[in-house]
């Protein structure tokens, strides 16, 4: 049986998410498993039908449910109160597609991958980059422990200049509700009717609107059991990680999208594939910043293939281990942050090192060593200078104890993608958790609101969202998303997916 109850001794009545920011009170806990080693369509059909049966059992029992993957989001999007939980981590197979599986048999089937909803990003990277496949994702978040369904549900992003959030890879989605098994893809057909039917999906929606809603489902459209991802040929990246003097004109270069000039000043004189700048919110233009560049490489002569992700600058999150110092020595926060940043970079990765690796090797699995605070704001890249200066001043002034990281991406991909601008910049506060840092992040958002600068917030991170704010941020796109939701989930079924967080965001009403 692909859905089975998880038996524990002693029975677990509460459950906490990965970052321990929320606790579920559980009536029962279930696990969804891949069935075996049959074909992908058989596995999907068996899994989806089992999930549908399970949903209807929950509906009959009058309980709320919540599918949970990596349980990564500190926004508590995965928390269910007095309900049933479905852990999807063992529904984690991925499959090659054949030309005959597509609506157009001439489609390049090697460019696509069929994955089950519980597969971890790291597993996808491993499978794609293995010899024989020689494919790659274009961009992911810095950590790779999330499941694909969870990462897409919250619009998780990286900092690849030519790519959007991770949902940018998605070309088709299978979603299960009590009413049926739905296959959603854009209006131009991707998969053949025979293939879709074989996966158990009885209801096919070929609609750009429905697809855009399903790309960022925010956990409120049903249980995502499978996705078809578009991949790219395997490529290599050269990394540079260094401490720099960060000045106002650097910020302006980033706001203008002149990444080549920024790279020429601090890295190599060429267009970077990826740019991330970690700044110190305490006097950001007087203190050092850390920059990470990745450059696409086809010719690897003279380069050194890395053996660990750290050699490509992955896992730069040592802030978490020094939380208590930052919390307890408020007068020295700026200095301490600076020391941590420079010590963690060490000698860095220089142009001369020529470290290269695949995309998957640029990411690393996070280790749960300390309580983490993470919050992210998205905005039009052109607004970067005024957001950055106001934001840092407010955050530091209120005692926030994290670095402020700048990331860049394309948008939007999905009606509820927080990266809503064609050229989106993100400002992330990642570091040790403390009440003071939470207050400082709230203060930063309040200051930006007072200045009338539009921005959105990450669904999966600390965000202080409510229904009014979601309405203001997404407006017409929210209404379009709700129309799709109502189509997938009639009012009688919608209650099944209600949680305190989703209710508060107005996504279940």
């Amino acid at each position: 049986m692909p859905v089975e109850e998880i038996v524990e001794r002693p029975p677990r009545r509460t459950w906490r998410n990965y970052h321990k920011t929320g606790t579920s009170t559980l009536r029962r806990r279930f696990g969804l498993r891949s069935a075996g080693l049959g074909t992908g369509r058989d596995d999907l059909r068996e899994g989806a039908e089992a999930v549908r049966t399970w949903l209807n059992e929950a509906k009959d029992a009058g309980v709320r449910i919540r599918p949970v993957g990596g349980a990564w989001s500190p926004s508590n999007i995965q928390i269910v109160e007095d309900g049933w939980m479905l852990n999807t981590r063992r529904f984690n197979r991925c499959f090659r597609l054949a030309p005959g599986d597509f609506a157009d048999p001439a489609a390049d089937s090697d460019a696509f991958l069929l994955v089950e909803g519980g597969i971890q990003i790291d597993e996808i990277n491993d499978k794609l980059e293995a010899a024989g496949m020689d494919r790659s994702l274009r961009s992911t978040g810095a950590s790779n422990g999330q499941t694909i369904a969870g990462a897409c549900a919250t619009g998780t992003h990286g900092s690849v200049l030519g790519a959007g959030g991770i949902q940018d890879h998605v070309c088709a989605v299978q979603i299960v509700t009590p009413g049926g098994i739905h296959w959603i893809e854009p209006s131009t057909p991707l998969m053949s009717d025979a293939f879709i039917s074989a996966t158990g999906a009885g209801q096919v929606r070929r609609s750009d609107e429905a697809f855009a809603a399903a790309q960022v489902a925010v956990g409120a459209l049903g249980v995502v059991t499978a996705m078809v991802l578009r991949t790219r040929p395997l490529f290599y990246l050269q990394a540079i990680l260094k401490v720099i003097d960060f000045r106002r004109d650097d910020l302006q270069l980033l706001a203008d999208g002149d990444f080549r000039a920024f790279s020429g000043r601090h890295g190599l004189p060429e267009d970077p594939y990826f740019v991330m700048v970690i700044t110190n919110p305490y006097k950001p233009f007087k203190r050092k910043a850390v920059v990470r560049f990745l450059y696409e490489r086809t010719d690897l002569s003279g380069c050194r293939r890395v053996e660990t992700p750290a050699e490509l600058g992955a896992g730069y999150d040592s802030f978490t281990m020094l939380g208590w110092v930052l919390h307890n020595l408020p007068w020295a926060r700026g200095w301490i942050l600076q020391k941590i940043m420079t010590l963690a970079v060490g000698k860095g990765i220089t142009e001369q090192d020529k470290h290269v690796g695949t995309w998957g090797e640029t990411t690393e699995t996070h280790k749960p060593l300390a309580r983490l605070f993470t919050g992210a704001l998205f905005f039009d890249r052109a607004d970067l200078p005024r957001i950055f200066e106001r934001g840092c001043a407010a955050f530091a002034g209120a005692g926030g104890a994290t670095a402020v990281t700048l990331r860049f991406m394309k948008g939007p991909h999905g009606l509820l993608s927080p990266a809503r601008w064609a050229e989106t910049a993100g400002m992330d506060c990642d570091g040790p958790d403390s009440p003071r840092t939470r207050t400082a992040f709230r203060r930063m958002m309040a200051v930006l609101d007072e200045a009338g600068i539009p921005f959105t917030r990450h669904w999966g991170k600390f965000n202080e969202l409510d229904a009014e704010r979601v309405e203001r941020d997404y407006g017409g796109d929210l209404h379009r998303w709700k129309r799709v939701r109502d189509d997938l989930l009639p009012a009688a079924d919608r209650g099944l997916f209600r949680t305190r967080v989703l209710d508060h965001w107005g996504l279940t009403a």
Binding site: G31, N92, F95, D101, D122
Partner: protein, 116 residues
């Protein structure tokens, strides 16, 4: 000579200060976090058990909790650490009672790439 005389006069205080520093060192190092992971972990939910020894380790409680979802795949990673309270209790009871927290996650397992 003066320094030797000074040390002799204050030997009790010096020993007391050294003992205090040793205790402080034990307090901080006692909260250290030891993390062990398999390569390419595919972790499930985290579980925590607290194991307590008394009588300076002669009596150690053994846990027998289990999770059926782990069957067949083993552990993805293990953390061993003591909380601030656990270390303080150990110090204040002169080591008579010592608790450690073991946090562990089962492994979801991996499948070969299949055909759709």
């Amino acid at each position: 000579m003066n320094i030797i005389v000074w040390i002799a006069d204050h030997i009790a205080w010096i020993l007391a200060a050294a003992a205090l520093l040793m205790l402080l060192g034990q307090y901080f190092s006692g909260m250290a976090d030891y993390y062990l992971s398999i390569e390419n972990p595919r972790p499930l939910d985290e579980n925590e058990d607290v194991i307590t020894s008394t009588w300076w380790g002669f009596l150690t409680q053994s846990q027998s909790s289990y999770t059926a979802e782990m069957a067949g795949q083993g552990l993805a990673d293990v953390r061993v650490f003591a909380t601030r309270k656990q270390v303080l209790v150990s110090i204040l009871t002169f080591g008579w009672k010592r608790s450690v927290t073991i946090a562990w996650r089962g492994n979801a397992g991996q499948h070969p790439l299949g055909q759709a």
